[in-house]
């Protein structure tokens, strides 16, 4: 049996590499980390026209083999075959942005000079044509001495030709030994050559890329730009609340129906209670938030893929500089709104180590999607669904305020950190602005599916385990007649201890109880509350009605507001701490993060509670 052949996609950032990767490999992708470094490894299978499979690697976008970041280091090592546990790719597929040849041909020359079998994908030719640029791939091929295929990844154009070219490059490499590497040239020489080649490959060209410039005129406008960005963020948060409701209601009804079926089908006893009160009530109350998470990720992915995210970074740079960061931190921080884990991982793109550390430390303050279930339940239970004029819902407004509270908290913390523990020189901001394009639906769908799957896997593992353990702790030992089950249980005993600590900030026993398993994942707080109240219900009828009426009956408004304030700051997620440990190579910073976040959560929950009580709410 012959060895599995390998190929790698290499190219500059913004060359449309990922879209090409998605088309070539379909949904058959494996995402992992390279061992020892925190760089994402994306691999998939493609099928050559002969039917033979090839493992395709999507290497991090680089400007040169002279690495300036951990990402580029991985690309350099992978291309040269120096990466431990990774075979040297048999074929390099160099991806070029057709509209940016002058720039992208610089790195391409460096790769071709290695003398490895090479195929060039002249990608996004449609966008180049839209910009009034007509190119001749054959002329470019003649200049470079390697095959050049025009592709439009998002429309699957040129994919068959590209596969055929990969196959023949691969076959040639088997037949004849690789060409001797050419003498490496200097960067100015390559740049000059790139300019000449780009000129020769250009059939016709109009002066301006119009659409791009027109859009930038509005979106980067000194006054309009920030307004558009702010409006967009506002729409996102309103949409997360409003659009998801029908789907969430349907999921909720489905789960309630399942509980009904289980109650009818199973004999009364331990197993039925575990299934209905523990598993279905607990995990179900988290699954309900899948629609909201999908909607939030859809917006974030669309912003990334359309090229707008880099504009947002540009607009935010001034503000970020004010707290000692740069616009580069905006992307990891915005990703942290979905989840702090990819957010913290995205900080790898920040070159300055102090900048990066500060961004990691404040990332958990961005309201991640796991807080959304908690916020959603409390808001729905305690904030009336009225409008405050102009069709703006009060519930959405409160949600927006919670997000803003997290952002302001993060900015203040960054400012303090940059003057104390992460003190250092001012950071820079250098960033290429990609061309605008409609987010390809296929890539959007693949990205959404990957995110939703991560969430569902968490629901099926961490959240499932935490819920079941909590249910067991709540169910045993059994209460004597007339005694409350929660008071009698193991969990009740633990919560009694914790209650003393959280009582001054307005938290009751059920909250103390929910906070423990919520350390595994924030959204567990909801399922934990659901489980607690379900166990404590006096009869099945009471258990069957939803969590919200029970919250309304059991909590005062100040308690609910304090609970929300707690979740703005509390580091209720062990996975985030674990990722911070990995990314900072030690326990020092994650422990610091844990301590400062708990302190803030306690202070602000307390402040909220006492202010609300004083205001007579």
């Amino acid at each position: 049996m012959s060895r599995l052949r390998t190929a790698a996609l290499v190219g500059n950032p913004n060359s449309g590499k990922s879209a090409l990767f998605n088309v070539l490999t379909g949904a058959r992708q494996k995402i992992a980390n390279y061992p020892g470094v925190t760089v994402e490894r994306k691999a998939g299978r493609l099928l050559l026209p002969s039917g033979e499979p090839v493992e395709l690697l999507d290497l991090p976008g680089s400007y040169s083999l002279d690495a300036a970041s951990p990402d580029e280091e991985v690309t350099r090592k992978a291309v040269l075959g120096e990466l431990a546990g990774e075979a040297r790719p048999d074929v390099l597929v160099i991806v070029l942005d057709a509209a940016n040849l002058e720039q992208h041909l610089v790195f391409a020359q460096e790769l071709i000079e290695l003398g490895r079998p090479v195929v060039i994908a002249l990608n996004m030719v449609d966008l180049a044509e839209r910009d009034g640029l007509t190119l001749d791939p054959e002329a470019l091929s003649a200049e470079l001495g390697v095959p050049v295929i025009s592709t439009v990844a998002v429309r699957r154009r040129g994919i068959e030709d590209l596969l055929a070219a990969i196959e023949s490059a691969e076959a040639n490499a088997q037949a004849t030994p690789a060409a001797r590497p050419q003498a490496a040239r200097t960067l100015p020489e390559r740049r000059q050559a790139a300019r000449n080649m780009a000129q020769k490959a250009t059939v016709s060209e109009t002066a301006e890329h119009r659409l791009h410039a027109q859009l930038d005129k509005v979106l980067l406008h000194p006054w309009l730009g920030p307004l558009v960005l702010f409006a967009l963020l506002f729409v996102i948060f309103q949409a997360v609340f409003a659009w998801a409701t029908p789907f969430a209601d349907a999921l909720d009804a489905g789960i309630t129906a399942l509980i009904g079926i289980a109650n009818a089908a199973l004999p009364e006893g331990f197993l039925r209670d575990l299934l209905t009160e523990g598993v279905l009530a607990g995990v179900g109350s988290v699954i309900v938030f899948l629609p909201q998470i999908v909607i939030l990720f859809a917006f974030i992915l669309a912003m990334e893929q359309s090229g707008y995210m880099a504009r947002a970074a540009f607009l935010m740079d001034r503000m970020m500089a004010g707290v000692g960061l740069s616009g580069r931190s905006f992307i990891p921080l915005l990703s942290s709104f979905a989840c702090a884990i990819p957010g913290i991982m995205a900080t790898r793109a920040i070159a300055d180590p102090k900048d990066r550390l500060t961004t990691i430390l404040i990332a958990p303050l961005m309201t991640c999607s796991a807080r959304l279930p908690v916020y959603a339940v409390i808001i729905a239970a305690f904030i009336p669904a009225t409008t405050v004029g102009g069709g703006i819902g009060l519930q959405g407004l409160v949600l927006f305020a919670l997000y803003v509270a997290g952002i302001i908290g993060a900015m203040v913390v960054a400012l303090v950190l940059r003057r104390s523990v992460t003190k250092g020189g001012a950071s820079g901001f250098i960033m290429e602005m990609p061309k605008y394009q409609l987010p390809p639906l296929r890539d959007l769908a693949i990205g959404l599916w990957q995110r939703a799957w991560v969430f569902l896997r968490r629901a099926g593992t961490i959240i499932f385990a935490a819920t079941v353990i909590l249910w067991l702790l709540l169910t045993f030992p059994k209460a004597a007649p007339g005694e409350s089950q929660v008071d009698a249980s193991f969990a009740g005993t633990i919560a009694s201890g914790l209650e003393v600590v959280v009582e001054p900030i307005g938290f009751n026993r059920e909250i103390a109880l929910a906070l423990i398993p919520a350390m595994a994942a924030r959204e567990v707080a909801v399922s934990a509350l659901a489980t607690t109240y379900a166990v404590d219900a006096e009869d099945e009828e009471q258990a069957a009605e939803g969590l919200m009426p029970k919250l309304r009956a059991g909590w005062t408004l100040p308690t609910a507001l304090a609970f929300l304030a707690w979740f703005v700051f509390a580091p209720q997620c062990l996975s985030t701490i674990a990722v911070a440990r990995r990314e900072t190579n030690g326990w020092k910073w994650p422990l610091f993060m844990l301590a400062y976040l708990f302190a803030l959560a306690y202070i602000f929950a307390g402040l909220t509670y006492w202010l609300a009580v004083a205001a007579g709410l």
Partner: protein, 79 residues
């Protein structure tokens, strides 16, 4: 004149760069992005709310964002 003084949408050529005021990694990145002596650039946009920072630079068919501090290290000649 240095690049930060260039008026928007005027084409200019970079004639000298004081690499010593730039951090080594930033210098590397700027070079990789095509910022070097002889490069032709124009300022496309400047920062928000009347601020002068950051700067969006047109270079070839690419738009590149950098800080005013970087631009001050580059001497340009208007074309």
């Amino acid at each position: 004149m240095t690049l930060d003084q260039l008026l928007p949408r005027r084409q200019a050529e970079i004639v000298a760069i004081d690499w010593t005021v730039l951090a080594p990694d930033e210098a590397k990145r700027l070079r990789a992005l095509g910022i070097d002596e002889g490069a032709q650039v124009a300022i496309a946009h400047r920062g928000v709310f009347g601020g002068r920072d950051p700067i969006a630079l047109s270079i070839g068919r690419m738009t590149l964002a950098l800080r005013r501090a970087h631009a001050m290290a580059m001497t340009v000649r208007e074309l």
